[in-house]
């Protein structure tokens, strides 16, 4: 197999309060008096390892708070991991510096969920899209106009709109501006974080088609983060399922949708509303998504899992290959074996 374009090795991200001297002192005194220190650290991402091959579209699925956006942000270099390494073409992006670091960062770009919040309302489209390539010397002043027009055109925008401001565009068009901005620095890897979630169904189809066209045209690799299994199924080659900071299952798309292994994946698939369904009684897995501040011990899913056994509460299952290319983290697989 060729070298992966992106590889995560044991990556964790913790968010916690930073304590000033007074807070540290109070905590120390409280500790002396026998009060257990309160856990205020969120393990948003918990030792995640994954690799993405060039040209692949990998869908990352999970419910809110499971850490999927945090992974996206770390991959895009917006946020450093607390532990572990993120490798771009075999080089740890944290240790790259100077010119190499810059170019590695430019090669990974991100497209955001909210086309309203992710564009500077006080910049014209020409500046939003054109600023980065100009700054990084990807285009000369002389060729700037034609370069910009080509970028806008590729994202399906009329280049004559380039003097306009974001508020003059609809949601779908704004998302195209966001796409043009990401592609203007000639990336090889795109992180799409819920990139179509805020759009109407008919506009969503247009943007998804654009993503597929661009992939072929520019040989792009995608990490496609979404809670919408329908969108992920349509677009992805491979799917990763996350629950509370951990990846619980990973397999090729058909495999996941036809032979889901992990009880969480199966529950998730069972509850996705399908347009092919007709009026029926809804049933639901019980329980809430636990707080990542205080996740359940062992397998995070065990309090909601219909197949939980005593071991699930004690010991976190590890990812095992259960079929070629199909990994799942569930103790049930060892019982069966």
């Amino acid at each position: 197999m060729s070298e992966p374009i992106i590889e995560l090795r044991g990556v964790s991200k913790r968010f916690g309060p930073s304590y000033d001297a007074a807070a540290r002192l109070t905590r120390a005194i409280a500790g002396r008096l026998g009060a257990p220190p309160r856990n205020e650290t969120v393990r948003a991402v918990d030792t995640v390892s994954l690799s993405i091959q060039r040209g692949e579209v990998v869908g990352l699925v999970g419910e809110s708070g499971c850490g999927k956006s945090t992974i996206g942000r770390m991959v895009a270099g917006i946020m450093p991991p607390t532990e572990g390494q993120i490798l771009f073409k075999g080089h740890d992006i944290a240790t790259l510096s100077g010119r190499d670091g810059k170019s590695a960062k430019l090669k990974v770009q991100m497209i955001f969920q909210d086309p309203y919040a992710s564009l500077n309302p006080r910049l014209r489209v020409a500046d939003i899209v054109g600023e980065a390539p100009l700054t990084h010397g990807l285009v000369s002043r002389a060729n700037f106009d034609s370069y910009l027009d080509a970028q806008l055109h590729r994202a399906g925008l009329d280049p004559s709109f380039k003097r306009r401001y974001p508020h003059q565009f609809s949601g779908g068009q704004r998302q195209r501006i966001g796409i043009a901005r990401a592609l203007a620095v000639q990336p090889e890897f795109l992180v799409c974080d819920e990139a179509v979630a805020a759009l109407d169904v008919s506009i969503q189809a247009q943007i998804l088609n654009l993503f597929m066209d661009l992939r072929r045209e520019l040989d792009l690799t995608y990490l496609f983060i979404s809670h919408d299994l329908g969108v992920v199924e349509h677009l992805s080659d491979r799917v990763l399922i996350m629950y509370l900071g951990r990846i619980v299952e990973s397999a090729r798309t058909e495999e996941i949708f036809n032979h889901a292994n992990h009880p969480y994946t199966r529950a998730l698939l069972a509850e996705v509303p399908r347009i092919d369904s007709r009026k029926h009684r809804f049933t639901a897995i019980t329980g809430e998504i636990p707080s990542p501040l205080n996740p359940p011990a062992g397998c995070h899913f065990h309090p909601r899992c219909p197949h939980a056994m005593p071991r699930c509460a004690a010991e976190a299952p590890t990812m095992r290959e259960i079929a070629p290319g199909h990994h799942s983290a569930c103790h049930l697989n060892e019982v069966a074996a």
Binding site: V201, S202, A205, L229, G230, A267, D276, F282, T283, E288
Partner: protein
């Protein structure tokens, strides 16, 4: 069986400085006891304003400019505010997309629920508190006695929506209008809410209007569907019939663009163009600019006409005719 609510030729217009926005223009439908109507449309299609019109929450510069909303022999469109208040939250209730918007963040849940009970029933405070607790239990909130004393921020999104539903159901309303109540929720939580609401509709005979842009949710929930586009219902009728065989080109396009309806990795069938600006609608069919079947005939507004299988359609060139 007579309908719980019957909306006839409803027109809700907003009289803005830039012009008249016909947010709801000639909309008719009815919902019977225990039935679920899915009101489907994209943003700006007028589905929420339709809901607001029924429950009398249209704010100026908007007002109901024509038509009628029949509920138990009364026309809600012409009811006094005092009479509307006695119905709203009592016989007709609404739940919204964002439960944080419906709950007062500085009042405890019990305060808000008891207030709602006392607004419409002459009962003691203790009785009101008991009813509130039962309502919380009914929508699947564990340990309702303790949760009554909590504030909205102490609930998760799904639990907050349950509280909003519990409040809406305190008086066993005849009609519940649900405006995208699960859009902000996760899949597993959405399924829980759908299961609760469905059970309540079946057990109490509540008529339900479910407003959404998500056809997949509607497919499993609705008996009837009304598809809105630019303020008008373009197709309405039996849910299964419309989903199996959409006749309006817009409905057809909308269903076709759902990813699971397309072969994986292939291009999605898309509707070209974008939703029109209601201030500058072209004359005739509002969809004709995006429609492959449109011709000169479409420059005249197509009337809502009954079709063979009992559905109503606003189209001169439905999908069952050769283009």
């Amino acid at each position: 069986m007579s309908a719980t609510i019957e909306v006839r030729d409803l027109r809700t217009h907003f009289f803005t400085r830039a012009g008249v926005v016909k947010a709801v223009d000639d909309v008719s439908f009815s919902v019977s006891r225990g039935q679920v109507l899915g009101l489907v449309g994209e943003s700006g299609s007028g589905k929420t304003v339709t809901g607001f019109s029924i429950i009398g929450l249209v704010d100026p510069p908007g007002r109901i400019a024509g038509g009628s909303i029949w509920y138990q022999g009364k026309d809600l469109a012409h009811l006094s505010e005092r009479e509307m208040r006695s119905l709203r939250g009592n016989r007709i209730a609404m739940i919204f997309q964002d439960p944080m918007m419906t709950l007062n963040p500085v009042l405890r849940i019990d305060t808000q629920m008891i207030e709602t009970v006392l607004a419409h029933s002459k009962v003691s405070r203790d009785e009101a508190s008991r009813r509130s607790r039962d309502a919380l239990g009914m929508v699947g909130i564990p340990s309702p006695d303790e949760r009554l004393r909590a504030y909205p921020h102490q609930f998760s999104g799904g639990m907050r929506q349950r509280v909003a539903i519990a409040i809406a159901l305190l008086h066993n309303p005849d009609l519940l209008i649900a405006d995208e109540p699960t859009t902000a929720l996760d899949v597993t939580i959405q399924a829980q809410i759908l299961a609760e609401v469905q059970r309540l509709a079946i057990e109490h005979g509540t008529a339900l209007i479910w407003i959404t842009h998500d056809l997949s949710v509607i497919a499993g929930l609705a008996d009837q569907i009304a598809v809105m586009y630019a303020g008008r219902v373009v197709e309405s009728g039996d849910a299964a019939a419309i989903l199996d065989r959409p006749l309006h080109p817009y409905t057809h396009g909308l269903i076709g663009s759902v990813p699971s309806r397309n072969k994986r990795g292939e291009k999605l069938r898309q509707i070209p163009g974008m939703t029109p600006n209601l201030l500058s609608l072209p004359p005739g069919c509002a969809f004709r600019m995006r429609c492959a079947r449109a011709d000169a005939a479409c420059e005249i507004e197509p009337p809502a006409a009954p079709h063979d299988d009992g559905r109503e359609l606003r189209c001169f060139h439905p999908m069952d005719q050769a283009a």
